[in-house]
Subunit: 130 residues, 2 copies
């Protein structure tokens, strides 16, 4: 039996591929949500934290730092008056919005189908013993 050749379109399947490492960073719920908020306009940390309901301070800071390191988000430090830091998408970061929105859109469009499937699965998995 011969091994099927690895399709060129699937290089992220290899564990050392940079695309795989990147996928690890962007295929993340918090990253999707933060980008969706920032696509509407720049935002301060506390505003982001309020809008992304349930995110912890630590996770939000780490998510923003990862996005900044990847060149997708920039920190704008206003030095006139009280120091304030605003986060915004870079032009490069805005290119990520479209695939993120596609994933997010799928989620919202199909949520009922998934909830029905989950109910059926859970009924099959928990057949009463008497």
């Amino acid at each position: 039996m011969t091994e099927a050749p690895a399709p060129t379109s699937m290089s992220a399947l290899q564990r050392d591929c940079p695309a795989r490492l990147l996928l690890d960073q962007i295929a993340d719920k918090w990253t999707v949500l933060v980008i969706c908020v920032l696509d509407e306009g720049p935002s301060r940390f506390n505003e982001l934290r309020r809008r992304v309901d349930g995110v912890s301070q630590k996770v939000l800071a780490s998510t923003l730092r990862g996005l900044e390191r990847n060149g997708m988000v920039e920190r704008i430090v206003a030095t006139s008056g009280p120091v304030s830091v605003t986060y915004r998408l870079t032009p490069f970061g805005t290119t990520l919005y479209e695939p993120m929105l596609a994933l997010y859109g799928w989620t919202t469009r199909h949520i009922e189908t998934v909830v029905d499937a989950q109910d059926r699965f859970d009924r099959r998995a928990h057949i009463p013993t008497r």
Copy 2:
């Protein structure tokens, strides 16, 4: 100061929204990779494990179970001859392939831009102290 109304397009920002729970499950590196493999055709567990380089048995099993519970993947148990289990995308599961591919495609197209940004970020973050 009045709170901006929550845009209807962002309901997954609310922590109790089902779309948010679903996003948590599908915005996951292993889920993206497994769906990309299964889109090429049904696969057995060990073949999947070999193709998704670096995935552990436990994580792959848990990923497949989540996909099965969500109605996106089905287990086909062949009972003639030695029992064998094959996993394949359901028709519903194939609808997830397009947004997954969009995310995956973005990743592969922009990997160099990201690596350059990371290098710049790391140089700024680690300025030698002497």
